[in-house]
Every structure is written in structure tokens, then in C-alpha cells.
Symmetry: C2
Subunit: 107 residues, 2 copies
């Protein structure tokens, strides 16, 4: 289970993909496969959460890494690059790194 | 505490703001104030989590609403509109609605 909290010592990646509606499910499948087979095995991986855009043209990944350095090391991994390349063929990608600044509510 | 899970019956808003670095903290303060004073009091509000982009030019809100209808009703609220208008003066805004499709990892 992924928790969002200022108290967590993680670096957060929010990656928003813009995709043709006919490719949305394919992109989700590709990213799920990449998460399980490659990303989750990289040092510093904490979690990934794929989101299906209700507009049909969006997919978002809310992911947590132990540190920015771990995330950047993953970017240099050849297997990870191959999977990211496939996603880039299907979608426009806008990855940004964050830290949690403020939280309100939740269960 | 906000948690991310396919089992949760929520609609997720991921809103990515692009802002000049000198306005990033001001935007975070404005959104935190709007969350506490207005958004959290709207029917169907579940949670909001403001994220500070490490690049200095991004802010993201990961928010949960009980339903899409509750989120859309909030958009029609005059007080909420006033707060959103202030954010739009400071930043480019790209709100999109999602459902969780796949999760891996976490604590």
C-alpha cells in the first residue's frame, strides 16, 4: 500500500502521459509489466501506482523512490530504458520529481 | 493519511501546476490555504496532498474526492472558484481526473 505523507523519506515521481484513447489500455499494460519486471527490482524502488485518466487520453504514474539518486540511477539502467522507450512511442511523457509539502484529510 | 489503492472508492485529481520559481512557495501557500478553508469543507472531499517540484517550477496536487460528481459540484462553488482563480494567475494548470488501475509496492 502506498501512503502519502510529509513524514515519509521518499522522492515522488509524478509522470503524466498523454495518449490516444485507443492506446490507453495498452500503455497501462506496458507500464504495469515494466513496473513488475524491471522497475520494482531497481535499488530504491518503493512503489508505483498507475492511474487511468477518466478522459481516456491520460495515464499517470504516482511512484516513490527512496531518493532522487536512486531514481536517476534507474534512468541509466538499460532494461529500464528499453521499457521507457516503448512508452515514449505510445505517449507524450511529462515526468517530474517532487517532495510532499502539505497534506490534509484522508482516512 | 492518504493512501492509494485500487480498492478505494474515490475519484483522483492530479493537478500539475507550472510556475515561475519565485512563485512556487507562494502557490503552495495559496493552495494549502484554499484546501483548509474551502476545499476540505466541500461535500465529497477526501484528501489533498500538495507536492513541491524539485525543479522549482512545478507544484502538484494529488487529491481524492468521493466521486466525480462531488468534484464537479466543487468547480461550481463560488468560493472555490475565487481560490482557483488566484492559482491560475500564478501558474499554468493541468487538472485531470483518474481512477487507480494498478499498484505495486509501498510500505
Amino acid at each position: 500500500m502506498t501512503y502519502i505523507s510529509q513524514d515519509q523519506d521518499v522522492t515522488t515521481l509524478i509522470n503524466v502521459f498523454t495518449v490516444a484513447p485507443k492506446n490507453q489500455q495498452r500503455l497501462l499494460d506496458l507500464l504495469a509489466e515494466a513496473t513488475e519486471s524491471v522497475m520494482a527490482r531497481q535499488p530504491g524502488f518503493v512503489s508505483a501506482n498507475l492511474h487511468r485518466g477518466l478522459d481516456g487520453t491520460s495515464v499517470a504514474n504516482y511512484a516513490q523512490w527512496r531518493s532522487r539518486e536512486d531514481f536517476e540511477a534507474m534512468l541509466g539502467n538499460r532494461e529500464a530504458q528499453a521499457h521507457m522507450g516503448k512508452a515514449h512511442e505510445l505517449a507524450e511523457v511529462e515526468p517530474r520529481l517532487y517532495e510532499v509539502a502539505f497534506s490534509h484529510g484522508g482516512d
